[in-house]
């Protein structure tokens, strides 16, 4: 079995998760504050990749970045950036695709924190940044763990978008989910099975681990 696709998938997931952790958590915090119409629209927009067909997303990314188009051509010729059929393109697509998996659970955790918690910190003269860092983020650690794991696993499973804009170039864009598809297509069922088992195992282990870690630790004496 060729481990390159698995390795590529893991790399893609790790990079995407890291970028989304750094950008998605502040975004979630911003979204968790008072409702306004633009914020609601933005939130709906962020949720879109969760429900949009990967083929739609892939299609528009393909259109945007294809050197056939003005914008893609400009990226291509002036900046030498290639977002179609390249690993960089996969990262970009994965960030869009997995964004809701990072933002939603974190945002909902922020919303459920009592507002007095941040306020208490403010009255102590602490800035928003310090409050976020020392009070709020530690309080929502389980949600962040969940978000990180879901993002990682979801990116690992990315298929439709990659198929559209990544093709299946070995070592570059042929990630594990595509390798499975290709193996099936070339009737290499044993291979497909191996890849599937590996992905299944990785995903199952991390999802289960998170459920167990996040389980409420305190037993109520009232039961």
């Amino acid at each position: 079995m060729d481990w390159t696709p698995v390795w590529l998938s893991l790399k893609l997931s790790a990079i995407t998760t890291l970028i989304l952790l750094v950008t998605g958590v502040p975004l979630a915090w911003w979204l968790s504050r008072k409702n306004s119409v633009p914020r609601l629209l933005l939130e709906a927009l962020i949720t879109m990749p969760l429900v949009l067909p990967p083929s739609v997303l892939g299609f528009y990314l393909l259109l945007a970045f294809s050197p056939q188009n003005a914008f893609g051509k400009w990226l291509h010729e002036k900046l030498d950036l290639h977002f179609v059929f390249s690993f960089g393109g996969l990262i970009l697509a994965s960030i869009i695709y997995s964004l809701p998996f990072m933002v939603s659970p974190v945002k909902s955790a922020f919303v459920h924190l009592p507002p007095s918690m941040a306020e208490a910190s403010y009255t102590m003269g602490k800035s928003v940044r310090e409050t976020l860092w020392k009070v709020l983020l530690p309080a929502i650690r389980p949600a962040i763990l969940t978000a990180v794991v879901l993002t990682f696993a979801h990116t690992l499973g990315e298929f439709g978008v990659v198929l559209m804009i990544g093709g299946s170039i070995p070592g570059v864009t042929k990630v594990a989910s595509i390798a499975i598809y290709d193996s099936v297509e070339s009737m290499n069922y044993a291979h497909a099975n191996n890849y599937s088992l590996v992905l299944f195992a990785i995903t199952f282990v991390i999802v289960t681990a998170v459920f167990i870690i996040n389980r409420k630790p305190a037993k109520s004496p009232l039961g």
Binding site: P114, S116, M117, E119, A120, S121, Y122, T123, M124, G125, K126, S127, K134, V135, P138, A139, R141, A218
Partner: protein
């Protein structure tokens, strides 16, 4: 002196109402704020701390203007640095007792004194969820004091304590507040509850 002249409409569900306060609170004394549930005690304390804004009015604390809606001036909660004891305690879930106090202030011996006043020395390493309701409430009070505030705002600060504990805590607190010349406002359902603790009573209506 804390001179307050504010007005805020509260959209209560049983019809609209007003919170209107025109009063000067004496420095270095404890004033009990009483009034029926829903009258706006919490809202008033929040306005003083900079956590809520009235529709109009001014707040002047020992000469300094904290709020003046006409001049669009309002100091942030960070600038006001009031000691605030929240009705729901607002403890930090992931900090233990010591960390709470250290987050608010850095004066080691003083923090020790606070722990002893609150009878919390045995719980230094406990997280909020490992404390009983009464212990959580004491921690909230101690944390507000750890900040060494000039103005201490307490919202129903004794509601979860049993009587014996409350009496002993009140005595120690009273001494500390007097020593440190802290001005203190305390919102309460039962004015008689703070007898011997509050020097003055202000009724919200």
């Amino acid at each position: 002196m804390i001179e307050v002249a504010i007005k805020k409409s509260l959209n209560r569900y049983d019809g609209p109402g007003f919170l209107e306060v025109n009063h000067s609170f004496t420095d270095h004394r404890v004033t009990a704020l009483s009034g029926p549930s829903g009258v706006g005690k919490t809202t008033f304390l929040r306005i003083l701390a900079g956590l809520a804004t009235p529709d109009e009015g001014t707040v002047r604390v020992q000469g300094a203007t904290w709020l003046d809606t006409r001049a669009s001036l309002s100091l942030s909660p960070q600038q006001r640095r009031t000691g605030f004891v929240f009705q729901d305690y607002a403890l930090f879930q992931t900090m233990n007792v010591t960390k709470h106090l250290e987050y608010a202030g850095a004066d080691g011996p003083y923090l020790e004194q606070l722990l002893s006043i609150g009878k919390m020395e045995a719980f230094r390493k406990h997280l909020p969820r490992q404390l009983s309701g009464g212990q959580q409430q004491r921690l909230a009070i101690l944390r507000a004091l750890a900040l060494k505030p000039r103005l201490l705002l307490m919202d129903e600060p004794f509601s979860a304590m049993d009587n014996k504990l409350k009496m002993s805590l009140m005595a120690d607190l009273k001494k500390l507040i007097t020593d440190r010349k802290i001005t203190c406002l305390i919102a309460t359902h039962y004015p008689f509850e703070t007898e011997g603790f509050a020097d003055e009573l202000f009724e919200l209506t």
